[in-house]
Amino acid sequence: MNPDHLLYAETHEWVRVEDKGSEKIATVGITAHAVEQLTDLIFMELPPTGSQVTAGSAFGEVESVKATSNLYSPVTGEVVEINQGLPDQLDLLNKDPYGAAWIMKVRLSEESALERLMDRRTYDQQAS
């Protein structure tokens, strides 16, 4: 996945929005910058399929040797799929944060939150 084509949240998640018929499905992950800052990840807790997530609110947790951090949803809608295998292979977050280490897919119930997301260049400036 080319990170240039993604949208980014201030809280270091990335989003890719795709049209699936009349629905919009957002794939969500965390950025390479976030993974680098967290380091030594040992645990990840993800929401069950079917749960509702809200833009700006926590949807899960990621834990490193040093600390526990919330994962914040950049979008609002229903979780339609999660990356089941990810919590057992957290190393994928280092290897392929924008591809194999995607975290969840959300069917958007409203799209206004997307307007608050940044493009790659703006995010990189903010994160550096």
Binding site: D40, E61, V65, K66
Partner: protein, 365 residues
């Protein structure tokens, strides 16, 4: 915020700087796991210059300081170092310290103490107040010295290549004045990782050159710089208490289980009677070890439960890189503190099964 003499060295080596005890310190350079494993298998190099370093001058220094420590240091032989607690009259813990009677030291440099960074001013003031009229002079040399811990199975070999004194000729918990890289240094066989190793106290102006030389030797055997993150996981596996977590003014020394550091017989010291009476109070919580199910760490202040009764609180917890599981130190009611007792920890709303285990979690073979 204070910076150690190695601040720029940390930045140059990729250290991620955080505030700790009023100092800017590296929490890690690469990853906590890698630095932890390097220390267990080869050598980790730690800047511990934030720890307070006091030198004492006066008459009968060991006798004067003895009255402030839970452990006997009067008559301590030259070369020996003692770990001790320092307590209030009610037995509450002011700090845990190392008291040194250095061998080979110049006049006025034989007796020193290392205290925790966050307690430096408090302990300085406490010693001054408690010893007023004794003629004891306390000199805080924290800022014009640096302290480097070289820890791990290869640590003594690394230091041996650079020091006048062969560290393997020193017994554990002994120290002397010597030279490292030709510069004045206090060399001691001490540490806070559960591994063998040395700590070097050097002049601040010599710290960078000495750190470079140590790193060069250590790199050749798989060693690396290590930050406060690895220092915490290493000391936790070794069940060494940390001030502010296991040790607090609200905790009586008797609760810590550090029996080797408390001598009550035939001596008087501040807090003695309160510690003695606390030894026979069965309701006081005691420091204990917990092994938790899964990889997820319990953190400070997580509550510990037995069935529906709250029986204690976690003071430190981490994922243990060596044991590959979640471990915690906690203060527990003595009724549930026996090894093998099944409990659970409330970890952010989740009940995690836990078992009481003997401390330490890890000890080097």
């Amino acid at each position: 915020m204070l910076q150690t003499a190695l601040h720029q060295w940390h930045v140059d080596h990729g250290g991620r700087m955080v505030e700790f005890g009023g100092w800017s310190m590296p929490v890690q350079y690469t990853s906590i796991m890698a630095e932890h494993q390097a220390t267990r298998t080869a050598t980790g190099i730690f800047d511990v210059s934030h720890m307070g370093r006091f030198w004492f001058r006066g008459d009968d220094i060991d006798a004067v300081i003895d009255r402030l420590l839970t452990r006997r240091v009067v008559g301590l032989e030259a070369g020996k170092i003692r770990y001790s607690l320092m307590c209030r009259p009610d037995g509450g813990i002011l700090d845990d310290v190392l008291f040194y009677h250095l061998a080979g030291a110049a006049e006025g440099e034989q007796f020193m103490m290392v205290v925790n960074a966050g307690n430096r001013q408090k302990i300085f003031d406490w010693i001054q107040a408690q010893t007023a009229g004794s003629g004891l002079a306390v000199q805080d040399r924290t800022l014009d010295t640096a302290m480097i811990a070289v820890q791990g199975p290869a640590a003594c070999d690394v230091v041996k290549k650079l020091s006048e004194t062969d560290p393997t000729s020193l017994a554990y918990y002994t120290g002397c004045c010597s030279t490292v890289c030709g510069k004045w240094a206090v060399l001691s066989r001490t540490g806070y990782t559960g591994e063998d190793g040395c700590e070097l106290i050097v002049h601040a102006a010599d710290a960078v050159a000495i750190a470079d030389a140590v790193l060069q030797q250590a790199s050749a055997v798989g060693g690396m710089p290590a930050g406060l993150g690895a220092r915490d996981t290493l000391r936790l596996e070794a069940a060494m208490p940390l001030y502010g977590h296991e040790l607090l003014e609200s905790v009586n020394a008797a609760q810590t289980g550090l029996k080797f550091a408390i001598n009550l017989k035939n001596r008087e010291f501040v807090g003695r009677d309160a510690i003695q009476s606390a030894m026979s109070r069965p309701e006081l919580l005691v420091r204990s070890g917990l092994r938790l199910e899964g990889r997820r760490a319990a953190r400070e202040n997580c509550e510990v439960w037995s069935e529906e009764n709250r029986v204690g609180v976690v003071t430190s917890g981490t994922f243990s890189p060596t044991l590959n599981q979640s471990i915690s130190m906690a203060y527990l009611s003595p009724q549930v503190a026996a090894t093998g007792t099944a409990l659970h920890v409330d970890n952010r709303g989740t009940r995690v099964p836990a078992e009481v285990v003997q401390l330490p979690f890890y000890s080097r073979s």
